[in-house]
């Protein structure tokens, strides 16, 4: 164990360091300073938290395309609940509201999936549309500035770091996390070993809900406003976490996926911020980010020759 560890850490750090070095070389005045780094560090938490949630579902081999809609709806319900309940210790209400809504919605996802027995991708597309509509009927989330202390440093970092620790422990150090990994690895063997697969899947969705709740809480605290998206456009919120997850998977061999996801998000944010500071037009940013992701995943994916890739 010990011997390989430094090497692994080194490999893990290559990617972010290389990206940093490139942009630093190109734009030493704008990009290099500590404050940029600090801000990027903060920004990486928000998509990471959703990605950690997503990770519990994707590790099961399932998809959840509704996470964008869930974040929006939970934030809206949470905020309006807070505003209705009084604002003395508002952010506690907000936190509870967001968390409870997200968990309930994921419970719905899991229940519908388990009951209807149709592929999760389809279930979550269908429910995504329903959640979007619901969010649009509830209205906007407008959080007063006094209640959004978790939108700024250092509180957002504390919350993010707490989420990281929780995600890490849940994924690696609990029965639930281990069983999720087992079911994702082989549903049949896990079932044979006495793992209750339906319940594990349910747990995966619920844990996803937990993190989406945190993510929606921090999102609304950070931006102050969340406006519902309709017509499936909430799926656009899925992509940033998904990208981090892809990089996390790519780095899986050398580092734990929870940390890999964070590194992935950090790298993506560095690429984007780097391009912003260089003045690269937004449109090119999209192209470059896409190609970058494809390259990272392409290099890291080494499928065995006989493996079936769909």
């Amino acid at each position: 164990m010990g011997k390989g560890l430094p090497r692994k850490i080194l490999i893990v750090l290559i990617l972010p360091c290389a990206v940093y070095a490139i942009f630093f070389a190109l734009q030493p005045k704008r990009f290099g300073n500590l404050q940029t780094l600090y801000i990027m560090f903060q920004q990486a938490f928000l998509p990471s938290i959703s990605a950690w949630g997503l990770c519990f579902v994707m590790s099961l081999g399932l998809y959840d395309l509704s996470i964008g809609a869930i974040i929006i709806l939970s934030a809206i319900v949470g905020t309006n609940l807070t505003l209705a309940l009084g604002t003395g210790v508002g952010y506690i209400w907000l936190f509870i509201g967001c968390l409870a809504t997200a968990v309930v919605l994921e419970l719905v996802n899991a229940t519908v999936y388990n009951l209807l027995k149709i592929p999760s991708m389809i279930v979550t597309i269908g429910l995504m549309i329903l959640y979007e509509t619901a969010a649009n009927f509830v209205g906007d989330a407008v959080l007063p500035y006094e209640l959004s202390i978790f939108g700024r440093a250092p509180y957002n970092i504390i919350a993010g770091a707490a989420a990281l620790v929780v995600a890490y422990i849940l994924y690696n150090r609990t029965q639930i996390g281990m069983q999720i990994g087992a079911v994702g690895g082989s549903e049949i063997i896990a079932r044979n070993a006495g793992v209750r697969v339906e319940r594990v899947k349910m747990n995966g969705f619920l844990l996803c809900g937990l993190f989406l709740g945190i993510a929606s809480f921090l999102s609304v605290s950070y931006g102050g406003v969340i406006i519902p998206s309709t017509r499936m456009s909430s799926i656009l919120r899925l992509f940033p976490p998904l990208m981090g997850y892809f990089i996390g998977i790519a780095l899986k061999k050398v580092c734990n996926i929870i940390i890999g996801i964070f590194i992935g998000e950090m790298v993506i944010i560095m690429v984007v911020t780097g391009m912003v500071t260089m003045g690269v037009p937004t449109t090119y940013q999209q192209v470059i980010t896409g190609l970058f992701l494809l390259a990272v995943v392409g290099i890291a994916t080494k499928a065995k020759t006989d493996e079936v890739v769909k």
């Binding site: 209807l116 389809i122 998904l242 940013q285 999209q286 896409g290 994916t301 769909k310």
Partner: protein, 304 residues
């Protein structure tokens, strides 16, 4: 039971037609309106047909939305030079993108979900660049190409050709074989890699055609053209009874039925006057219900 499940999409289609024509007092089935539905469904159906070839293999193609945009942009750009160039260039764009998708999946072994999603991003950016961050108008003369008979003949040709290729040639059979069992298909002599690239190529080609049709229909290639079109295709196909795993139960009919159903729903709900805010919810419920009834659980080993 399996027989019943197979015809659920058809029943759904008939039900939707009956329901909405009752609710609109027959307005739905007036010729004018049928033509509208046809107009709106053409692009979707052709797009779905292309993706059918990919999904028959059990892969996904999510790059369609941006491909529709970029091929439309290419069509409009070159239409400004010579109108004759627009269609070939739109199709060539589609083929090129299909080649890239297929190659990355078949030879670099990156899962199609990731490949096509990344390509979706890249192409969306390229679309915005190609439309000069706005939109490119089509020469007025080309608006007359948005003619019912041209579209009808294109659609019928595409359907017939695709149906022929899908059902009566080794191409379609090989592709479904890959969906049923890639290794077994390989061991029976199916050139798996070539077929994978070919499927994406067909999907790209038809999407390029869609891009052209779309530009001709709207008269503009816009930076937002085709946004989330890939999800429309996916829902339409699933609504039409397409299994995500592909294989021999993947039918080309799904593309047609699904595309028509989605167009009928959008049109019907406006005709009935369902509140705009609620239309999506209705779609969502119908979608889940249809899949629930038509999903063949017994022929899928694991539901993911």
């Amino acid at each position: 039971m399996r027989g019943f499940k197979r015809i659920v999409p058809y029943i759904g289609l008939v039900l939707i037609i009956v329901l909405f024509s009752a609710l609109t007092g027959g307005k739905l089935l007036s010729f004018r309106n049928l033509k509208l539905i046809f107009n709106q469904a053409v692009v979707l159906i052709i797009g779905c047909i292309g993706v059918t070839f990919v999904m028959a293999q059990g892969s996904l193609d999510l790059s369609q939305g941006s491909l529709l945009g970029i091929s439309g942009a290419m069509a409009a750009t070159f239409a400004a030079i010579t109108p004759g160039l627009s269609l070939p260039l739109a199709i060539l764009t589609g083929i090129a993108v299909g080649m890239i998708n297929g190659t990355l999946l078949a030879f670099f072994k990156i899962p199609s979900f990731i490949v096509t999603l990344c390509v979706l991003f890249v192409l969306r950016g390229l679309t915005v660049i190609a439309t000069h961050s706005g939109s490119i108008p089509l020469p007025f003369a080309m608006l007359s190409l948005d003619n019912f008979r041209i579209k009808a003949s294109i659609l019928v040709t595409v359907i017939l050709a695709a149906y022929y290729a899908y059902t009566y040639t080794s191409l379609g059979k090989n592709m479904r074989a890959i969906g049923s069992g890639e290794t077994s298909a390989r061991y029976s002599g199916v050139p798996v890699e070539r077929m994978k690239v070919l499927a994406y190529l067909i999907s790209g080609l038809l999407c390029g055609l869609c891009g052209w049709l779309n530009v001709v229909r709207t008269g503009a290639a816009d930076s937002k053209t085709g946004l989330l079109f890939e999800l429309d295709i996916l829902t339409a196909l699933v609504l039409g009874g397409m299994p995500l795993t592909g294989g021999s139960s993947a039918k080309l009919q799904s593309a047609i039925i699904g595309g028509l159903m989605l167009a009928l729903l959008s049109n019907g709900m406006v005709l009935v006057g369902i509140k705009a805010e609620l239309q999506q919810a209705v779609k969502g419920v119908i979608f889940l219900l249809a899949v629930y009834l038509s999903f063949e659980r017994e022929s899928v080993v694991m539901i993911k």
